[in-house]
């Protein structure tokens, strides 16, 4: 199951602390991790704690990250809303951790079926004051495992919260996976608040009362963002030539759209799929390149068109939305039909 794979990948990648609060459909990740806690094979896995709320979870992640430990949690939309405050503080104080958002139907309590309706929230408004975490979007169970490892690495390389955006379907899906011999993420953390130890003190802080100081910190974060922009990654599936239709999708929608593309290719229709692997930073150069050769762009997503908005902002081209709402998943035939 996706959740089990994610749990295994996290612990084998060097997870040191897990803090979580149950919420469907993410709870299976926490349950699977709880089983691995205390195993002799993973001596680095120091703390597993069920918190009293998502607010407490995110602040425990903040504490663990501030002390330089590899930590993560898994949650879903309503929980992520509560975590926005902590993510904003972590972003400003440059504290690393990984949050897995298992997207469920929203807004409000919505339902527990898969949706992709957190995209705009995660990309544009995760906390007050202008927050831009790194966002990863796996589309298979295999890729979910790899992204957990990558998430830890990115979080510590850039000292930033990383969000892995996935959905109820991938996390509950059974799939074959292959796990390379694990290599542990062991970050260097000279900056971490672990006590002065006869050296200079470490300050993990987000308060800058003087405008010049705050401006300085914001400029530093923006400068870092320029470095982060270089890691943008995407896949263009079957994008060989001028395209009749370019599909755009992430997560489970991308996996289904790949089938549709293959179907269309068999019929001689030149179809391709553009799939952002990192949603933030978005691979702007690739989307501009592939979209410029496409007759038509169709965004397949399990929401009202949030990804399409991001793509339109970059390409300045019309993007047709094929929306699936309320927990319905894309249908291969329907996706294929949308090329017309």
């Amino acid at each position: 199951m996706g959740a089990k794979a994610i749990a295994e990948a996290a612990v084998r990648s060097g997870l040191e602390a897990y803090f979580g609060y149950p919420i469907t459909p993410s709870s299976e990740i926490m349950e699977n991790i709880s089983v691995l806690y205390g195993e002799k094979r993973y001596p680095w896995f120091k703390v597993f704690l069920q918190s009293a709320s998502e607010i407490e979870s995110v602040n425990m992640l903040f504490g663990a990250g501030a002390a330089g430990y590899v930590s993560m949690t898994a949650t879903s939309g309503p929980g992520l809303s509560l975590m926005a405050e902590g993510i904003s503080y972590a972003y400003a104080s440059e504290v690393p951790f990984l949050i897995i958002d298992v997207n469920r139907g929203g807004p409000g309590l919505g339902n527990v079926a898969p949706e992709q309706s957190d995209i705009s929230f995660v990309l544009n408004s995760l906390g007050h004051g202008g927050v831009k975490p790194i966002v990863l979007a796996p589309h298979t169970v295999q890729e979910s495992m790899e992204h957990v490892h990558k998430g830890f690495e990115l979080a510590f390389t850039y000292r930033i919260p990383v969000i892995m955006l996935t959905d109820a379907l991938i996390v509950h899906m059974y799939d074959t996976v292959e796990w390379e011999p694990p290599y542990i993420v062991k970050p260097k953390v000279e900056w971490a608040a672990r006590g002065r130890n006869y050296g200079p003190r470490h300050i993990i802080n987000s308060i800058y009362l003087d405008p010049p100081e705050l401006k300085g910190n914001k400029e530093k974060l923006l400068q870092k963002q320029k470095e982060i922009d270089k890691i943008a990654e995407s896949e263009c599936f079957m994008c060989y030539d001028d395209l009749d239709v370019l599909y755009i999708a992430i997560g489970i929608s991308a996996r289904i759209s790949k089938e549709a593309v293959l179907k269309l290719r068999k019929k001689g229709i030149k179809a391709g799929l553009f799939r952002p692997i990192t949603l933030s930073p978005l691979d702007k150069n690739s989307i501009l390149k592939y979209s410029s050769h496409a007759e038509k762009i169709v965004s397949v997503e399990m929401n009202e068109g949030q990804l399409a908005q991001e793509i339109m902002r970059i390409t300045r081209k019309d993007v047709e939305v094929l929306p699936y709402l309320g927990g319905y998943i894309p249908d291969v035939e329907e996706v294929a039909e949308a090329w017309k």
Binding site: N59, Y89, G195, I203, I207
Partner: protein, 260 residues
């Protein structure tokens, strides 16, 4: 006279708190206690939101700035991962008992060996003197211009009463940090008993943490600026009204650190 230099305090303990506020006194006691116990090098301070935020400017220890009310959650995580370190937080009454009461209660109930110092001045100080959950009945604040009405707002929250129901707390104490004014014929003098008690409470709280227990100390202090009183009147208020609402008490001392 020689002034003793404390390695954990900057600039001889001079702070930028308002004149008459005892917040700086609390920070000084914390710094002195860290030095006395020889734990400055392994101390990690977690700051909260409010006047206590400024603590990082005056105590020379590792520092993590928490969101409003969330310091106990952050302290818990750090302590669980860095077991041999001393983790403490300074919170205000608004931070700890209003927005952050859930985090405080759960950290206390788990009994994670951390130390929480709560400076209770009965208002929201940093934001300009609004009502806090601890505001006594009838006290005028900027959001209760006619005095706190306990029929609508309930009685002031008593942190020690709430926390004494948790079995895993090892040290729980309330002290008054405001020096008591003593009126003589021609001048006003201040008692030093409160300062001695407060310092002892800080020391004992750290000792409890070193013995793997959760410790919480509430300091009843003034906020003369937001109470709109003179410094002297505010100190009188604490000793006339404050101590009636919040009587000093040792509510828990599981390891008997008080006696040692």
């Amino acid at each position: 006279m020689e002034v003793k230099q404390f390695s954990s305090i900057f600039e001889n303990g001079v702070t930028t708190y308002c004149p008459g506020c005892e917040h700086g006194l609390l920070l000084k006691f914390i710094g002195m206690a860290l030095d006395e116990l020889g734990i400055t090098e392994k101390a990690i301070m977690v700051g909260s939101v409010g006047c206590s935020t400024l603590a990082y400017k005056f105590l020379n220890v590792d520092y993590v700035q928490a969101p409003h009310g969330r310091a106990p959650a952050i302290m818990s995580a750090i302590k669980l991962l860095e077991k041999d370190k001393v983790v403490f937080g300074i919170q205000g009454d608004g931070d700890a008992l209003s927005i952050g009461i859930a985090e405080l209660i759960h950290a206390a109930n788990r009994g994670i060996p951390i130390t929480v110092f709560m400076y209770n001045n009965m208002v929201f100080g940093m934001t300009g003197g609004q009502m806090a959950p601890t505001t006594p009945e009838g006290m005028k604040t900027t959001t209760t211009p006619f005095g706190r009405d306990i029929k609508q707002m309930g009685p002031p929250l008593d942190a020690c009463k709430i926390l004494s129901s948790f079995p895993q707390i090892s040290y729980l104490k309330r002290v008054v940090i405001t020096p008591k004014p003593i009126f003589t014929k021609d001048r006003v003098m201040y008692s030093s008993k409160e300062a001695m008690d407060s310092y002892k409470a800080v020391l004992n709280a750290f000792k409890t943490q070193l013995m793997e227990g959760f410790s919480f100390v509430e300091f009843i202090g003034t906020c003369n600026v937001n109470w709109k009183m003179s410094i002297l009147d505010s100190k009188k208020y604490v000793h006339e009204v404050g101590v009636k609402v919040y009587p000093p008490a040792l509510c828990r001392d599981a390891f008997g650190v008080e006696k040692k």
